[in-house]
Amino acid sequence: MGSTSSTLLKIPNAEVLMQETGFSPAHIIRLHDRFKALDKEGRGYLCPQDFGAIKELAMNPIGDRIIGAFFSPGKETVDFSTFVKILAHFRPVDKDRPKEPNSPEPINSRSNKLKFAFQLYDQDKDGKISRDELLKVLRAMLGMQVTEEQLESIADRTIQEADLDRDEAISFEEFRKSLEKVNIDHKMSIRFLR
């Protein structure tokens, strides 16, 4: 009852956002509505608690990490531009986009999707997934259902298979190599309805 909706004119930097992310005007409007719905107090930005209020996200074993991905280090708020740019990672890859040599890589490229997934593992952002970080993710996804030994054996086995330069950690290149054959576009894309 009595809700006002956005038009493209009311959204700041809509044109720039569409250029950078590749979302259509209708998508931007819908995302803006969603942003406003999450921003219950109407402050114009989101904080971690606003994300935490989403029930399905709270139920997700790595929900906290996903929320963390929205906030750059040191920042405690997310404005609409950042919100859209992060969600742009999940747009399906544009197969018919012309490859201009000078244009920057699109946000939803395979490489950028992998980078997004990498940062979910690499919480201290040092460019490597250490054994400890891997254990933490495993613990989050499996909870109390497995023993410490089982977790450690899984972690050791994973590092053994992926770690090519034997430094006991997985760098981004090793991460990318180990997922060569996985259809990233399918697994890390969300289909937006027109």
Binding site: F51, A58, M59, L120, Q145, M188, S189, F192
Partner: protein
């Protein structure tokens, strides 16, 4: 000077007198008499049909206007903005394993949880149930005018006329009717209360309740279609229905007699409650008694055990949902062990949004919104009675009833708790996810070690 005014004075008095008489006659003929006998002239249905034609014209006009200006019309999707594939965790993980290898942990497993998480950020099932539903066509109320800037002057004029009619004519009319209905309810139930207990009293009480609720239905211009009336709740049972607004009570009670359940209130509500209970036994709880679950259960079972008492009306969701889905039923009413009569109520959102968002609007604000809508159109389905089966516990029974109601009313059947409107997700749900994932990984490695 004074003699100059006298002829006008008497003229005014005469006019007032005539208009009052006309008003009361109209009221009596068109509202009160049909309410007593439960018949209808069909005026409201005619009104509804003309409104539909008007709304379709308005939407076409808007689409034409948008095409002329070469802009996109904003079409809201009530199903969500993303396509969610109902793929389970096991299927995803099987697919991600390359070349039929044994399911072990893989770095890509995180993609499933990541995607699910981001999907829920963009669009989640629960939050949108607690806000009003979006509409595809415009019904000349400001509530859903996403395309307002596409509207021509003709449409704006029509909208203005609509506002005048709704607030200037319909609203005062409805408010007077509402007062009449409530007033009559209080007075007549007190009168019936003076009779000695017996068949005559019950008969009169039923008639009085029905008549007053029917007047209230007309006060809201509610156009209700009842389906499958042969399944109407009988004495000695409980009637459960999905909850969208406080009006649900009036809608159901104008077609049958129920015993109401609720907390004792002060003020006007309290007066109404005390009057109603004089005519027939309703169940009103003091605030302190509500917390004591055993006391509540006992009073309900005692009422149900008495065959002469009316069926109890309960809304197990516990809160108002926006009528696109049915949320988890609280198991209390399903533990009593008597016959349950499910009822599905579905409102047609084109004419007026009946959902009460109690965190945004107070009761008076809500009633004003209701009475200044065009109409409230809804359908009521009476489902055949259900009982608890052998080996079924209260929660399973509640879910079975909920599924039946959701199916009949065309609403989505959700596992979520209506209490999530205000509360936090229980840890249990997260553990479920973790259990599922660990079964896929560890369960299979156990098989391997055995072989």
């Amino acid at each position: 000077m004074e003699s100059y005014l006298f002829p006008f004075d008497s003229l005014i008095c005469m006019l007032l007198g005539i208009s009052f008489t006309v008003w009361f006659t109209l009221l009596l003929v068109f509202i009160i008499v049909p309410a007593i006998f439960g018949v209808s002239f069909g005026i409201r249905r005619l009104y509804m049909k003309s409104l539909i034609k008007l709304f379709e014209w308005a939407t076409l006009r808007m689409e034409r206007g948008a095409k002329e200006k070469n802009q996109h019309l904003y079409k809201p999707y009530s199903n969500g903005i993303i396509a969610k594939e109902p793929v389970s965790l096991e299927q995803e993980i099987q697919e991600m394993r390359r070349g039929g290898a044994e399911p072990e942990f893989d770095m890509s497993d995180i993609f499933y949880f990541c995607r699910r998480g981001v999907e829920s950020i963009v669009d989640d099932e629960v939050t949108k149930r607690f806000t009003a539903e979006e509409l595809e066509s415009w019904n000349l109320l400001t509530r859903s005018n996403y395309n307002f800037h596409h509207i021509s002057t003709r449409l704006t004029a029509l909208w203005g006329v609509g506002v005048l009619i709704r607030y200037g004519i319909l609203l005062p009319l409805r408010v007077t009717l509402a007062f009449t209905g409530v007033g009559l309810l209080v007075v007549l139930t007190s009168v019936v209360g003076l009779f000695p207990n017996g068949r005559i009293k019950n008969y009169l009480s039923d008639k009085v309740h029905l008549m007053c609720y029917r007047i209230c239905v007309r006060a809201l211009t509610a156009i209700i279609t009842y389906h499958d009336s042969e399944n109407k709740p009988k004495n000695g049972g409980i009637c459960v229905a999905n909850h969208t607004s406080p009006i649900d009570v009036i809608i159901l009670a104008s077609d049958g007699c129920y015993a109401m359940v609720g907390q004792v209130h002060g003020g006007l509500m309290g007066v109404i409650q005390r009057a109603m209970v004089k005519a027939c036994p309703h169940i009103w709880f003091e605030r302190s008694e509500v917390k004591d679950r055993h006391l509540v259960a006992k009073r309900l079972s005692d009422h149900v055990a008495d065959e002469s008492k009316l069926p109890i009306l309960i809304f197990p969701e516990g809160t108002c949902i926006n009528n696109t889905s049915v949320m988890m039923f609280k198991k209390g009413s399903f533990e009593i062990g008597c016959k349950v009569y499910p009822v599905a109520i579905k409102y047609d959102p084109r004419f007026g949004d009946a959902f009460w968002n109690s965190s945004k609007f107070g009761m008076v604000n809500y009633l004003l919104h209701m009475m200044s809508s065009w109409a409230i159109v809804c359908s009521v389905w009476y489902l055949p009675p259900m009982s608890r089966m052998e080996g079924e516990d209260a929660v399973q029974f509640a879910n079975r009833v909920k599924a039946a109601i959701a199916r009949k009313g065309g609403l989505a059947d959700l596992l979520w708790d209506g209490g999530l409107k205000r509360g936090k997700v229980k840890e249990v749900f997260k553990e479920e996810q973790q259990k599922l994932y660990s079964k896929v990984l560890v369960g299979s490695s156990e098989d391997r070690s055995r072989s």
